[in-house]
Symmetry: C2
Subunit: 386 residues, 2 copies
Amino acid sequence: MIRIGLYAAAFVALGSSLALTQSSDLIVEKKTFEMPSYTTAAGETIKGVKVGWEAAGTLNADKSNAILITHFFSGTSHAFGKYKADDKVAGYWDGIIGPGKLIDTNKYYVISSDTLVNLNVNAPNVVTTGPASINPDTGKPYGMSFPVVSIKDFVNVQKALVESLGIKKLKTVMGASMGGLQAYEWAASYPEMVDRFVAVISHSQPDPFLAAWVDLWAQPIRIDPKWNGGDYYGKEPPLDGLKGALKIVTLQANQWEWAQKTFGMALAEEGKDPARAMNNKYKIEAFLETAAAARAAVADANHFLYLAKANQIYLVDPSKIKVPALIINTPTDLFFPDELVDQTAKAIAANGTVVETAKIVGPNGHLNGLVAIAQAKDKIGAFLNR
Amino acid sequence: MIRIGLYAAAFVALGSSLALTQSSDLIVEKKTFEMPSYTTAAGETIKGVKVGWEAAGTLNADKSNAILITHFFSGTSHAFGKYKADDKVAGYWDGIIGPGKLIDTNKYYVISSDTLVNLNVNAPNVVTTGPASINPDTGKPYGMSFPVVSIKDFVNVQKALVESLGIKKLKTVMGASMGGLQAYEWAASYPEMVDRFVAVISHSQPDPFLAAWVDLWAQPIRIDPKWNGGDYYGKEPPLDGLKGALKIVTLQANQWEWAQKTFGMALAEEGKDPARAMNNKYKIEAFLETAAAARAAVADANHFLYLAKANQIYLVDPSKIKVPALIINTPTDLFFPDELVDQTAKAIAANGTVVETAKIVGPNGHLNGLVAIAQAKDKIGAFLNR
């Protein structure tokens, strides 16, 4: 119960400034997909893989109306609907997915699954396999003995899920940020299974700058002595390190305009001027602490490290992609620079593949792609119906 | 000797990709300016304040030819010349300051001083007062009992230095980044002492986003158990935390284009693919580790925290500035966004004050303002002679 409260609080904390959709008529249920064994792209075998998934709509007779939604770094499969009518928040793209909505669940069967090494492994309704999972060979959590997994592995597990439902071809794969990386990976690796894809706030260029940033996100975890080389299960977890990591991600996912509009230079506590004492803080610092604490309460530090690694080693050559693409981004994105997104669009188009593009604007930087996706409604609608 | 080597290595590490000037005919000497007592803007008294300073050129008879160079966050007063003819690197702006150069030391008397709480307190030739200094009242290092100091305090100490030389008015104050903040502060607080000023890669807008980033720079230090609430003098210092902080600053001071051109996705060690093991790294990650280690060897963690605080609490209203300004920036700056720099220029101009602007381009983001300052040579020359 405490966990549910904190989990909601994390989204509410973000939602207060990001206007996430708070209401939905759609009720979804978390299901579990299991694989007795999965061999990673790098050749390591993991036994007893489980990932959670959610769906809305009805799969038609020829199984041709399925859309897969792939989630972002700190996200889960909860992209649409609510688990219970009185949930405080709905899935992150509930504004565009549901009955009668842009991605109409009266027409499409929409699926979303939790990735391997999902960050929110301790959240209710998240099912994932990663370093916090029990290694069946030892009866103990894997910790850092869990094999390296990649975005391709996330996609391979999704593919097994999709195939288990008898689906031969997805109408669309659509995802934001790390979800976009998965969409590019689907198109590159399994073009015969993807009719078209939508990559939001992401590109497919090699980017050592982002790879370096991802290492610095993870850095506070490694510095926290409670991390202990990843061996902390059953002990006190490295909460300061995990919060530290989440603070950086949360801030960099946004932009200066958001900070000015939401906080200005307001103080965390009235009468405690930051100019007067080393421990006095600004309101934005207190917000980051609160948001990170709420997120950390359901997250796992080792899962953060593995997820970070998966993003670093992501490698898809956009010039090889031959599946029609809609690429939506925002020019103020601090993770996926506008110019590199344009390079990806050009690289795909250069081989003769259809590429549509759309730009979203707003004060939220990278997060514009989550909270202001409705700006691209017409483009997405036209692309789905092309 | 080890310290000197590492200090040089830090600059060489940066220099290898940043093309810092490596040769100079100008030899400078570090001098020390002392104040028996200094009372901060917030009203706290510090006894026995010392800061280092360097100068080149000759002060003319009416003492009207002095230019003050103010340094950036991780910088020192070493802006021009070399200490010894065989120094590996010269001061950071040696390309534009010296005999016969843009800021001609045959014509001007150019001064630069180390700030209070200078980051590189353990470097040879750096003289500063801060938490690592001995508190004369206790005979022990201040640690976190050192009072909060601000950019205004840095400027007040510089003002005392300038006045001690009999200088009534500076021809120009010029600085980059935090040095730019000092230039704005000089113009706002002591307009009668500044004929004109040049603020490079900095603005004077309230920016909670940057204030939040600065807190996240400092975060690894606070998480490192060796920091111990700032009480580590005479013990093992929080080197991991300090390196962690310096890595973030180093990366954010640059830009994706630099990372692509300098490193690409090259591996730190041949045959150790990051996709194969959690500890395998990219070359850019190894670079950040090496550069941060070299910098950390002469820096102090508490000084970092106090310097961070000074930047967070900086507060100058640009609309009140009535000293002619030249504002030089770079559109890809991740610390001081282009749009906010433009807002500062407009705010000063709105009160009728002369404001000139120049834009520098290049692959280095914020650091373009240090390494590519020569692009603005004509503008700076015209501004000095206006």
